[in-house]
Each structure stands twice: as structure tokens, then as C-alpha cells.
Amino acid sequence: MKGTLLACHECDLLHRARPLPEGGTARCTRCGALLYRSRRGSLDRSLALTLAGLILFAVANAFPLLSMRVEANVQEATLLSGVVQLWDQEAFGLSALVLATSILAPLAKLLLLAAVLLPLRLGRTPAYVAPAFRLALGLQPWAMMEVFMLGIMVAMVKLADTADILPGPALYAFALLILVLAGVSSALDPHAVWDRLETA
């Protein structure tokens, strides 16, 4: 990275990269946009978090997220319940959108990152790595799990008046998953990945 020429992606100004202290950030001198961060051991950390994320994803989907109890009736819901219910109610567009943003996009992002980081860690660069990584980065704005989490919390409070809302095991996995996803975003250094591809 040292001495490479970089263009600010928000104002196009050219900069020459310099080494940063641990945890430092480099910002554009003209508009303040984040250019790059110092992320040591980024490959290892991102890979570990990505794999942890995949496991948490499996748990979050395998168990009930929430259950609602009114008198003797209990209704359970998993992450997919809402999607399935919306589909049954013929709200097809809504169902597909929620499926895409809360399940497919995060899952695809994790799988693609694992498929990219794993071979890189083992010192290999198969041909699919570049397009896979581009796709993973492109999916970033469409993975909205943390917004979903806020939606769950609002719904829980809304219903708490009239029923008993009990969190299920998947809810904790889901909360952890969101933290892990945030960790992946902060640990991942795209420049390091692209540099590895270049030297291949």
C-alpha cells in the first residue's frame, strides 16, 4: 500500500498513500472522506468473524425467534415465518423484499466472503475471487439485518401490552450475528484483498 496513488471516491482528488499508525485512519484532505484504515491481521480476523457469522446464521434460522402467548394460545415465529406469512397473504413483493434484505443478502455476503478469504488465507487465488469479492462488496447496502432488529424490538414493545412476548434462542443468535457482521465490516480491508490479487 505504501506510496500507491489513490483517488478519493467522493471528490476525485489524488493522494499518495502513507503507512498509518495502528488503528489510524486516512482521510481525504479536501472533503474528509475515509480513504483507508490501518487494519493489521485483517485477513485472519475477517475470515474468523465470517465463519462465526455463518454458524450464527444457521442457529438464528433453525430456532424460534420469538413467541407470543395470549391466554393458552402460543404462536412461535422464526426469521422466515414473516416471509412465509406475507407470501401466504399474497403480499408477494413484500415477502420477496424482506427475504432478500434480511436473509438472502446477508447470507450471500457471508458465503462470498468466506469463498474469497479462505483461499486467500491458504495462499491461493482462484479465478472466481475477483468477481465474488466485487459482488460481496456490492451487496453491502442491501443487507439490512440491524434495521430488522430494530423492527423486531418495536414490534415487541407494541405487543407487550396485550400479550406475553418471549424471546427465543434465535433472537440472541440474531443479535450476536448483527455484531459479528459489523465486526466483519470493520475488520475487512478491501485494499489488502485487492493487493493480494494483484501480486498473484
Binding site: 479536501r30 423492527g151 414490534a155 414493545v157 407494541k158
Partner: protein
């Protein structure tokens, strides 16, 4: 971080790859499309058709905003009757039930944010088309906030999803999604696409 003598990539005849940020020498005008040698993405000097596309997405969002707010997003059937809720009536219901903070969150995220996004992007577009040099740094910051905040408007959609998934004790209560919800989701998605099509570098082009 030293700026290389205040030169933009464009002025230096370089193109910044939108995917991997490699700087590549600009191909000759008649060479057709070039691709990044490192990652294979198509090389574009600026986001293609940025101004036109952003206007198109904004127009779509504005057109859809009315039905999104006017049509009910969900229907609640209980023993005491059936109620239809729009986004606004949902906020008011939360307020009258004493859940003030929730009402504020939903109101801000679902009603205020999409409208502010449209206003902000319209302002950015007009300022760029007039070649304005007014407070470029602040305008870039406005763009950044716009991009970061947009997705949170989706919270209402997820609230409806969870309610629909849980409240289906047929005899006692049933919640179903209504068309207003998909209109609203379309507004949020349109504003997201609008922010993604806008190229902030346009704010800095045309330095006289």
C-alpha cells in the same frame, strides 16, 4: 496523508475503478469500454448517467410517496373489530398508547427521513447542474449522511413483518399486510437507488 499537488484523477488522465479503486490510465476515446486489469469491473470516469438516473429515481419516490402514506399498510382483526392502519395512524396509535419514544422513532424513520432524503438529493442535483461552488465540503457531507441513513426507513416494513408472523391466533387476533406497505417499501428502495446513482465527485468537478 499528503495530497499529490491537488490534482484530481480526472485531470491526470486516470480513472478510479469503482470496485477495487485501482487507478488506471484513461483509455483512448475511441477504444470503447475498458475493464479494470485487477478486478474486471467496467471502468467509468463518473457514475454513468448519474444526473438523469438520480432524477428518475427521485421522481419515482415522489410519485409513490402519496399512496405509501395514504394507503393502509396493515389490517388488524381482533374480537373488538377490524382496524386499518396507515403509517401515520400507526404513529398516532403509538402516541395515544403512551409509547412516545416508539412513536418518535417510527415517525422519524418512516415519514421524515424519506422526505428529507428526497429534498437533500434534489438540492444536490440542482446545485451540481448549476455548476455551483457553494460549500462543496458540506454538500459532500450531506451526500454521505443521505447514503448512511436511507436504509433505516425500512424499519416499518420489518415491524409489519414481525406482527404478521406473530399475530395469527385466528380466533383472537389476526394481522395482515396491506398495499400501502409495498408502496412504502418502493419509496425507500427508490431513494436508496437514487442515492447510489448520484456521483458525489460531480460536486467537485468544474473547478474554475
Amino acid at each position: 496523508m499528503r495530497a499529490a499537488r491537488q490534482v484530481t484523477a480526472d485531470a491526470a488522465g486516470l480513472v478510479d475503478c469503482s470496485a477495487c479503486h485501482l487507478l488506471v490510465r484513461r483509455p483512448a476515446a475511441d477504444a470503447g469500454h475498458a475493464f479494470c486489469p485487477r478486478c474486471g469491473a467496467a471502468l467509468r470516469r463518473r457514475k454513468p448517467g448519474s444526473i438523469a438516473r438520480t432524477w428518475a429515481f427521485l421522481a419515482t419516490a415522489v410519485l409513490l410517496y402519496a399512496p405509501a402514506m395514504a394507503l393502509p399498510i396493515m389490517e388488524t382483526a381482533t374480537l373488538s373489530g377490524v382496524r386499518q392502519d396507515t403509517i401515520m395512524s400507526g404513529v398516532i396509535y403509538l402516541m395515544t398508547s403512551g409509547m412516545w419514544p416508539l412513536a418518535a422513532i417510527v415517525f422519524f424513520a418512516s415519514v421524515v427521513v424519506p422526505a428529507l432524503k428526497v429534498v437533500a438529493l434534489t438540492f444536490l442535483l440542482v446545485s451540481v447542474q448549476r455548476g455551483s461552488a457553494w460549500r462543496r465540503r458540506d454538500r459532500t457531507r450531506l451526500y454521505r449522511i443521505n447514503e448512511a441513513v436511507g436504509r433505516w426507513s425500512m424499519v416499518d416494513i420489518y415491524v409489519v413483518t414481525v406482527l404478521v408472523a406473530l399475530v395469527r391466533l385466528r380466533a383472537l387476533a389476526l394481522i395482515e399486510a396491506r398495499p400501502g406497505a409495498i408502496f412504502f417499501a418502493a419509496v425507500v428502495v427508490s431513494t436508496m437507488f437514487a442515492a447510489m446513482s448520484f456521483d458525489p465527485r460531480l460536486i467537485w468537478d468544474n473547478q474554475e
